[in-house]
């Protein structure tokens, strides 16, 4: 009898102890989860704060003139600011310059990028192919300012003998290349090999398989890669400072200094009279970049349906 009582007592004590430990563990677990959630919330707060700042400080300057007129000179801007008006003029020279420079860069980078991507896909992991793959990786890691410097010595000095849109396009094209190459290779790898073999078995020449089978099948993947690579270079400022330099006029000559939206933001930032224009220009640039991103994700999502 007595032993039975002590046993139940012991058992109760043990259960109490276990319950206590369990509570402790669960509490620790809850604290851990709370910390993770808090830190994650802080992590995404900058994007909200940045977009809020761009919209709240930038919307006042966005009007039709913002898209149809070139940037004002510093004196006009000063007069407007002193009278409390919004700054006249817009960023047309930047918008056209960005489209011109980025368009030209895409023209250089897309064909070469696609061809090299196909080359890597076709040649597996042989020594030479691996060399190309490694070089592509190295290219992807090169800081954009170094590419600007390179384009300065390759194009600005010898070819256009002065700052030029062409030099900027070369710098941006080198930046785009590795991104397009990798996405092309990855996209092609995902296409079932049987599709390609079916073509080969029918005796279709290889270039026709490329253009009529592989590229159409992987088109959405290839497009996504290209759009993402463009969205990566649109906002680049540093290489443009060493190559395109900037211009107050709309320019479509490849050998003349050209403006771009990020370059204009940099100029506005450095000019106390025009500082009001930085937020609207940044807002425009952001919407442009995010729009490209969303578009590419849309294309990819449609494919996987």
């Amino acid at each position: 009898m007595a032993t039975a009582i002590t046993k139940t007592k012991k058992f109760k004590l043990k259960r109490k102890f276990l319950e206590k430990t369990e509570r402790k563990l669960l509490r620790k677990d809850k604290i851990f989860t709370a910390v993770i959630i808090t830190l994650s919330a802080i992590t995404i707060s900058p994007i909200v704060l940045i977009i809020y700042k761009l919209i709240s400080s930038g919307y006042r300057q966005i009007n039709i003139a913002f898209f149809t007129e070139t940037s004002p000179d510093t004196y006009e801007a000063m007069l407007a600011v002193n009278e409390g008006n919004i700054i006249p003029g817009g960023i047309l020279n930047g918008i056209t310059g960005t489209l011109f420079i980025v368009g030209m860069a895409a023209l250089f980078a897309i064909p070469i990028g696609l061809l090299v991507g196909i080359f890597l896909y076709e040649n597996g992991t042989k020594g030479y192919t691996n060399l190309i793959r490694n070089l592509t990786d190295i290219m992807q890691g090169i800081p954009s300012i170094v590419l600007g410097l390179i384009a300065y010595f390759w194009v600005v000095k010898p070819i256009t003998s002065g700052f030029s849109a062409l030099a900027a396009s070369v710098a941006l094209a080198i930046m785009m290349l590795p991104l397009i190459i990798r996405s092309t290779e990855e996209t092609l790898k995902m296409i079932p090999i049987s599709i390609k073999e079916a073509g080969l078995a029918l005796g279709v020449p290889y270039y026709k398989i490329l253009f009529k089978v592989l590229i159409p099948t992987g088109l959405s993947g290839l497009l996504t890669g290209i759009l993402l690579s463009i969205s990566r270079i649109v906002g680049e400022t540093a290489p443009l400072m060493l190559t395109a330099l900037g211009s107050m006029k709309v320019n479509f000559d490849i050998d003349k200094p050209t403006s771009a939206v990020p370059l204009l933001i940099w100029e506005f930032y450095n000019d106390p009279n025009m500082v009001d224009l930085i937020w609207s220009s940044s807002l425009f640039l952001m919407i442009f970049v995010l729009g490209l991103n969303l578009l590419s994700k849309r294309i990819l999502a449609n494919r996987s349906k």
Binding site: L39, T43, I50, Y269
Partner: protein
């Protein structure tokens, strides 16, 4: 006779040669540009902290910029780590596959889409006054401000790879731990993290490589003084920002000094990415 088969092969081959020409050309251009500095200062350039462009007694050294780059980048990694890591756990394990995780993932991706110059503006007009208000520094410029903005910029890179790696940890391992009575915290810290640690490490190495090359945002916030930073809130300069700042007015020996810094930057990012690549290769 060339048939279409051969032509296709040759075209593809020629395209691949362009890659060799571009990378080889870059290295040659940079190396030939560094020759004047190399003749003048030798390898001492890397370890010298002089930066004096006065005509006649010009003296250049890369140490302040190398130091500035490494300090800001390391600081960025240290600041980014708790946030990026928590976010990866949030997306990859705690709320895996839910709408909340998807939303957080999209927000983090959007961080990667913001142009560097916009980060710079935001840092200048929002973060910098905040740091002044907190009394941390009188002007708000400096190593800390630059490191902080860099941390925000590299978070998406660190997060995305870590999330993928965390998702790859086999379910059996986690289930085994749960069945033995582990809590979620234990599973994450004692099963997932040890299994994913080299992958997590790699993602921070690659993020570090990103931070090293960042130019605009850092240029706008670091204060641009050509000295070795002496305190957390002191000013300095990084390799990328000194090129952006001084390239416009540079010629002769100074230009060569900037090119040498560009070459060093090229080599450092190359080594960092190469290390990351090797670790990833060993993972597979």
């Amino acid at each position: 006779m060339l048939n279409s088969e051969k032509i296709t092969k040759i075209v593809l081959y020629l395209a691949s040669i362009i890659i060799i020409l571009i990378t080889g050309g870059m290295v040659l251009t940079l190396i030939s540009g560094t020759l004047p500095v190399f003749k003048e200062f030798g390898f001492g350039f890397i370890f010298s902290s002089d930066w004096d462009p006065t005509q006649g007694k010009e003296k250049y050294g890369a140490l302040p910029f190398i130091a500035g780059t490494l300090i800001t980048s390391i600081m960025a990694i240290i600041i980014a780590f708790p946030f990026a890591f928590s976010t990866s756990i949030f997306i990859g394990e705690l709320y895996r596959g839910t709408k909340v995780a998807n939303f957080v993932g999209i927000m983090v991706d959007m961080l990667a889409g913001i142009p560097s110059i916009v980060y710079g503006l935001w840092g200048f007009y929002v973060l910098r006054p905040l740091i002044v208000d907190l009394g941390l520094s009188s002007q708000g410029y400096g190593i800390f401000t630059a490191g902080l903005i860099l941390a925000i910029m590299i978070i998406p890179y660190a997060t995305s790879i870590t999330t993928e790696i965390i998702k790859m940890v086999p379910n059996e391992l986690k289930e085994a731990a749960y069945s033995l009575g582990s809590t979620r915290k234990d599973v994450i810290l004692k099963v997932i993290v040890p299994n994913a640690k080299s992958g997590i490490f790699t993602s921070y190495i690659l993020a570090f490589g990103r931070a090293v090359g960042e130019t605009m945002a850092v240029t706008m916030l670091i204060g641009n003084t050509n000295i070795i930073p002496t305190s957390l809130f002191g000013t300095g300069n990084t390799m990328a920002s000194v090129i952006a700042n001084q390239f416009g007015e540079a010629d002769g020996l100074k230009l060569s000094a900037l090119i040498t810094i560009a070459l060093l930057l090229f080599v450092i990012t190359g080594i960092v990415n190469w290390i990351g690549k090797i670790i990833i290769k060993n993972l597979n």
